[in-house]
Symmetry: C2
Subunit: 508 residues, 2 copies
Amino acid sequence: MLMDDMGWGDLGVLGQPSKETPNLDAMAAQGMLFPNFYTANPLCSPSRAALLTGRLPVRNGFYTTNGHARNAYTPQEIVGGISKDEMLLPQIMKKKGYVSKIVGKWHLGHRPQYLPLKNGFDEWFGAPDCHFGPYNSSIRPNIPVYNNSEMLGRYYEEFKIDRKTGESNLTRMYLLEGVDFIRRQTEAQRPFFLYWAPDATHAPVYASKPFLGKSQRGRYGDAVMELDYSVGHILLWLKRLGIENDTFVFFTSDNGAALMSGPNEGKHYKLIPTCTQSFSLRVTGSNGPFLCGKETTFEGGMREPAIAWWPGHIKAGTVNFQLASVMDLFPTSLALAGLSPPDDRALDGLDLTPVLLNHPHKQGNRPIFYYRGNELMAVRIGQYKAHYWTWSNSLEEFNKGINFCPGEEVPGVTTHDQKEHTLQPILFHLGRDPGEKFPISVSSHEYQKVLSSISPVVEQHKSTLVPGVPQLNMCDMAVMNWAPTGCEKLGKCLNVPKSQPWKCDWPH
Amino acid sequence: MLMDDMGWGDLGVLGQPSKETPNLDAMAAQGMLFPNFYTANPLCSPSRAALLTGRLPVRNGFYTTNGHARNAYTPQEIVGGISKDEMLLPQIMKKKGYVSKIVGKWHLGHRPQYLPLKNGFDEWFGAPDCHFGPYNSSIRPNIPVYNNSEMLGRYYEEFKIDRKTGESNLTRMYLLEGVDFIRRQTEAQRPFFLYWAPDATHAPVYASKPFLGKSQRGRYGDAVMELDYSVGHILLWLKRLGIENDTFVFFTSDNGAALMSGPNEGKHYKLIPTCTQSFSLRVTGSNGPFLCGKETTFEGGMREPAIAWWPGHIKAGTVNFQLASVMDLFPTSLALAGLSPPDDRALDGLDLTPVLLNHPHKQGNRPIFYYRGNELMAVRIGQYKAHYWTWSNSLEEFNKGINFCPGEEVPGVTTHDQKEHTLQPILFHLGRDPGEKFPISVSSHEYQKVLSSISPVVEQHKSTLVPGVPQLNMCDMAVMNWAPTGCEKLGKCLNVPKSQPWKCDWPH
């Protein structure tokens, strides 16, 4: 279960003051909570590619070289997508007879060859990109919603999202699609892999009518409440079907909550909406006590809520401080299915099964690497995090009101230029200082000692890293979803403009 | 159970990432959690005076008029203390035969007439002031530790606190004193009131040996772990004694966590230590997602962790969003004891028993007033908070490295001058924006509507408020604890210097 832009601090069990996630809190009480769980990138597409490949985006190609340390993703006009050379989780699971479905947001490329059913999934209900819009389809089409390999309609057309009221039934549809899949596979006694990826907490935030106005937190909270309800409902169905002891469930989010906003409430951005931008100042998730949010390599951008649930196997009510990553779900899922990960490529994920099952052997002091595009910005080992580069966003953007760290400013840390600290990394102890506010003095014994243990790990990582071919360099209006498969039947094909590719511009 | 400088976000159940408070989390799971609980002042003495009188410090005299909107407390040289005109909780409880003990920090005045046994308590083990020091006793004496009305010794002398290692057995002693009192009263079948007020999380932070180095959070976390253990141990004793269904327990803290520190780790303040200053940059509590901390009237300064526990009466695992205050504990405790609060004075606390017992009648939309010294800085009604004055600390102090909002800066909100907004208050919706980062636009319909409902409440409050005689205006070296009662027996009397009173200087 992968949420979209939901923050670490959005869960009651992780300190959201309104405590409106009873089902997720119960899931944690029945399972294992990972307070030190990380995504592989502070942005959606690379994070999702990392989950499904077990590899850092810089390896699987979900990054750009058009600019230094730029976050890139798959907007409508992206040419690239998930490479055929990558092995995706459902492709390998198939070897043991697993049937796989993705419900919700794909975001690994929207051209036909990149879609889920060409990449190991047996079923899909959802959309390739973010639910931005509505668009004037002579300029750019609304995003299609697919059922398997054919479009069913488009956002804002057949799949309504009321931007004014925030009403949409999409989460409800995703819930029903997920439950239906689980029921069908259970009845057929087939092993299954469900990748449930709703996007209601990504701007523009939405919820269905029964949840609208119910939260103390405004519309964002309404969306969280519906997602929480849906998670609870799925777990309930696993119990009803009697498969809860045979089903491993993991809940997390793709990146930190989007905090982007300026101080003037009510002013909406006039920029062309992209997956990196949030729209309303009232729509803000929480990254708890962590610094900044989405787009950044501070904790608020990359530390994620994470709960593992597997009654009868995972000890109820456990809190596990293992440093873990969304990429671990790749080898972990394979291990649970009795499969081995591919041995012909570098993997960044670790098998968490010993940790989940509380075996004495744990995955020790593994590093967490914080990338932004093609640059290793920071590394965490144990409680220590060393920043080799710092950047929030450019002063130019900041002055336009785009702020990834609203209300927060740590001098020399939340910098508005890309600042290199390779020779003298900025060091934090995340146990004492989870908010990354008090850099450890470079003249201290602690600094010297810690750096001398981190540096070799970083050198080793950098010297052996073979970057993949960057997939997020080229854009082209012609590749947008003008006429997806199935459009003929629906009479919804649009004219494809002439191909005029250009280098994508990634400002952050 | 009143903690000292412990922050809202220091509890696992409220989102501290290290989740090191299993006993408090269990207390919440067995009791009622109040995420919207407030202290009456962002500083220790006034907050404690408010708890014991049920009245705002501006009424009970725990404020100063030496400067506008200044936080004041009872340092060693304060002349004043709790007025004889105030009625304290234990004084009234006595009418129903309650035996009362305070264990730990008093902080309502240290001159003989102000001490606990002169103000309704039957027993006391602890100290009148903060555990600062050690001092050269020719300049200022170390703080005495009392057993009832006689000193037993002094901090750093008979009661060791190792400033270097952080080791001290004080929390252990406070635990044993508390348990011993509970056992004695239970055996004698006497109703009792225990005010358990340890100070281990106030700088200089300390813990006993078994807890030192055990936390992921450094020494502050060690102290929290020992306090958590002690709370669990006290609850365990209530169960062992079979009185858990007859004992109402409330846990909270006196003000937000002290975040004071500069960006240069390892640099300690050279200023004369006072109760308002923290010493080591590694010693930092957490206010969760809230803005700033101790000393300020932002949420981080005044929102407190709060748990009510009363098995068999309070429904286990409840989260109650009632806006509540430490002053409510005064009428609530009286109601539980079958007593009425005094009717000859204005009370700010409300009886929470209907809320605790989940009766349909709740204490509705009561306001929370945020004072700093003699000034009403802000008001919360429902989810809305209006700031009439903003101030973090002076630019002069800030430039010296004293920062009440490290890493945080909300333009126009965390101001370094005392900024008045009476004509156009800064308005936040704390549900959508608990971090007070996005002021609601003054031109919005919402702003106009909300202000028109808040303004009459504020006018009513201000026009009817009768301030008490300020107790915290005068200081004098002669009133320090040079020769407390009992010093003769111990041979520990010091010479009292000549009285030369002066107006206290309150910089914040």
